[in-house]
């Protein structure tokens, strides 16, 4: 039997074939990490259209988490070191973490991670002057940071009423994220929910309900985003759930 040895011509013919059979290509794309996929958009216009196709884009296929960031436990007055540990979950090809210290992602010191959601981080850091706080959303992979504007005027013009800030982001449903803010009126148990949209880059007050009065203690500082809604646990063993209704784009 003859062993396989390619002449240049045969090889070119075959790889041409692979490159032209879209179902094979897209399946190969699904095995590639996002970083490579985004780079390979530049290979040709055909590849660009396959990779970015809004209906079949391999960028939008569900993926296993490659790892977890662990934030070391700190006592309240201990200085925050911004150091994070990375726990790879894909044992075989354990990747090096995308970053080790938050400071390599954003310049400011004393950054706090408030919430994380499908690869995005919601952080806060005190402003150098004025004793005010900046809130920002950060993508550690792209190192892109968006500082959240303040909610427009009215009673919500300051950050002081914030009782909890949460990211609502599901890349499988929409490339845009939302930030859900539980806002409490001073000295009162009246709450309101504000929503920031990355699409409009503005805050709006949730229309779904009027002010709500919440006497039974809900832990609005410890919530979780899951399945299209932010969930908070209440002392009465109930759950307070806010549906973020992300529209499919």
């Amino acid at each position: 039997m003859v062993d396989k040895s390619f002449s240049a011509c045969e090889f070119s013919l075959l790889s041409d074939k692979v490159a032209s059979i879209d179902p094979i290509l897209t399946k190969i794309f699904e095995c590639l990490p996002l970083r490579s996929l985004v780079r390979f958009e530049a290979v040709s216009k055909h590849w660009f259209s396959l990779i970015t196709d809004p209906h079949f884009s391999p960028l939008l296929k569900p993926r296993y988490a490659s790892g977890l960031f662990l934030l070391p436990f700190k006592l309240q007055d201990e200085p925050f070191s911004c150091e994070v540990d990375f726990l790879p979950l894909d044992g075989i090809n354990s990747q090096t973490p995308p970053f080790k210290r938050l400071r390599s992602v954003c310049e400011s010191t004393d950054v706090k991670i408030l919430h994380s959601c499908n690869g995005l981080l919601l952080c806060s850091s005190p402003r150098a002057s004025g004793g005010d706080t900046d809130y920002f959303v950060c993508n550690p992979t792209t190192k892109k940071i968006v500082v959240l504007c303040r909610p427009a005027d009215g009673p919500y013009g300051s950050w002081r009423g914030i009782r909890g800030l949460y990211l609502a982001y599901d890349p499988l449903k929409s490339p845009n994220y939302k930030v859900v803010c539980v806002w409490r009126f001073a000295g009162d148990l009246l709450y309101k929910i504000l929503i920031y949209s990355s699409e409009t880059r503005a805050w709006r007050v949730s229309e779904s309900d009027e002010y709500f009065y919440y006497s039974s203690k809900a832990h609005f500082d410890k919530g979780a985003y899951w399945n299209g809604a932010v969930h908070w646990h209440c002392d009465t063993d109930n759950w307070f759930v806010f549906q973020t209704s992300i529209r499919k784009s």
Partner: protein, 177 residues
């Protein structure tokens, strides 16, 4: 779709399954080489199974899109996966070793053959291997390997590189490993 879930190594005493193990088929490659293979191994390819069921085989099954070298590789894979008593762990190890030494050209051959013959497991394995070889490579390496000519202008390419600078970091050298 029950057909693709059929387990050829099942411990049943189905006389039909027994017959398949002893019955051999002949596969003929594009360059005229003939290979004998047990029917139970051959029908792991959905395309071959359909040909056998439609009885259009008539002794020799011609595979005009697969050359002899590639067909020999595919048959090695099919035989292993039809082997009596091969554990899943053994098959997994075999799969890994089977694709690990293949050059890109060979991987392209095998992926096309697996696609044509509809052998899902092999297709999955080879696709994964191709992706693994590509993932840390430069755009230029991919163009050269897949024989693609860029239809972006240098300015457009520069723009993409600038916009997604993070995706262009940590790329291996173009020397093939």
């Amino acid at each position: 779709m029950a057909r693709k879930n059929r387990n050829p190594v099942g411990k049943n005493v189905d006389p039909e399954a027994q017959k398949k193990k002893t019955r051999t088929l002949t596969l003929k490659s594009s360059d005229g080489q003939e290979f004998s293979i047990s029917e139970s191994a051959a029908v792991l390819s959905i395309a071959i199974e359909n040909m056998v069921e439609d009885d259009c085989a008539g002794g020799v099954i011609p595979l005009p899109l697969v050359d002899g070298g590639t067909l020999a590789r595919v048959i090695t894979y099919l035989n292993k996966h039809a082997e009596d008593g091969a554990s899943d762990e053994e098959k997994r190890k075999f799969d890994e070793e089977f694709v690990s030494g293949m050059e890109m050209g060979v991987l392209f051959d095998v992926v096309l053959a697996a696609n044509y013959l509809d052998i899902r497991g092999l297709l999955r394995e080879v696709r994964r291997r191709i992706a693994d070889r590509m993932k840390n490579k430069s755009v230029e390496w991919v163009r050269k390997t897949f024989h693609i000519e860029s239809d972006f202008t240098p300015e457009e390419e520069e723009q993409m590189k600038k916009e997604f600078a993070w995706a262009w970091e940590g790329v291996d050298s173009d020397v093939d490993d």
